[in-house]
């Protein structure tokens, strides 16, 4: 369900693991970001974070659950800030236990980069509850970190 209050838009949707539906939901967030005046680089970052978080939710969070189990996607966006919540119904995980994929010894491992990309591109990332719920915030006006 979408809602618009003045300069803020929001939506909550329960996603199933269907590629077309996921793309449509991601596109609604990106379209809202465009309406709010977010730059192309910002929309690139948002798309990447959405893609990685939703993939993680289904692939890892729901690995042991029936394929029809839904993942909740909520967002609220204004010209100042985008907040996205993605919550799966899986057992969760300890984000601090995820190995740093940028270390020399991990560079050749073909997995484990999704979370670090979300952290790199979003202004803040929070893991809630047992780790099955990620909230990320993007501030389109925040200075770009070149590190």
């Amino acid at each position: 369900m979408t809602a618009s209050h003045g300069q803020t838009e929001s939506e909550h949707v329960e996603l199933i693991d269907d590629r077309d539906l996921i793309i449509e939901a991601e596109q609604r967030v990106l379209d809202a970001a465009e309406r709010m005046g977010y730059a192309d680089a910002a929309r690139f970052a948002i798309r990447l974070a959405l893609e990685e978080a939703i993939t993680n939710a289904f692939k890892h969070g729901h690995a042991q659950l029936p394929p029809t189990t839904t993942v909740g996607l909520s967002y609220e966006i204004s010209s100042e800030k985008l907040t996205v919540d993605i919550e799966d119904q899986g057992p969760g995980f300890d984000p601090d236990a995820v190995a740093d994929p940028t270390l020399d010894e991990n560079l050749e491992r073909p997995f484990g980069r999704g979370l670090m990309l979300i952290r790199a591109y979003m202004t803040s990332v929070e893991h809630i509850g047992r780790g099955n719920h990620v909230r990320f915030v993007f501030d389109p006006n925040a200075p770009v970190d070149d590190d």
């Binding site: 590629r19 680089a41 690139f44 798309r47 990447l48 893609e51 990685e52 993939t55 692939k59 994929p101 940028t102 560079l107 050749e108 491992r109 073909p110 997995f111 980069r113 999704g114 670090m116 990309l117 790199a120 591109y121």
Partner: protein, 120 residues
């Protein structure tokens, strides 16, 4: 979307197999798996494969796509081959930099530069 449909354009010239992506977005896990299998078949069929992957027109890629590129790189190296990446959009190149994969892969600005970089 059919997974039997190739997501790649491939051509071989002077022993170098050049690979281009049909899709602008390399995000779908099923497609990424197919891409990996298709390129792996080329690697398996050559003694010292020389592969050039061009990212011309690619606008987005996911960490799963990066993982497949790493697997391809590992397979090429195991067979004593060479892998080059080229034509990477600046926004996507930043993803390689953030993940430090620009240190793992040999990346060139253009396919011409990449072609010249192969040793015989």
């Amino acid at each position: 979307m059919s997974s039997n449909e190739s997501r790649l354009r491939m051509s071989t010239q002077e022993g170098i197999t050049q690979v281009e992506f049909i899709d602008r977005n390399i995000l779908d896990e099923g497609n990424i798996q197919s891409i990996g299998e298709e390129i792996s078949a080329v690697i398996e069929s050559a003694d010292a494969p020389r592969i050039l992957i061009s990212f011309d027109n690619v606008e987005h890629l996911s960490s799963a796509a990066l993982g497949t590129l790493i697997t391809i790189n590992n397979k090429v190296r195991k067979k004593g081959g060479q892998l080059r990446l080229a034509n990477i959009d600046p926004q996507i190149f930043e993803v390689f930099v953030i993940t430090r994969l620009n240190k793992l892969f040999e990346i060139h600005e253009s396919t011409e530069d990449a072609q010249k970089s192969f040793s015989a």
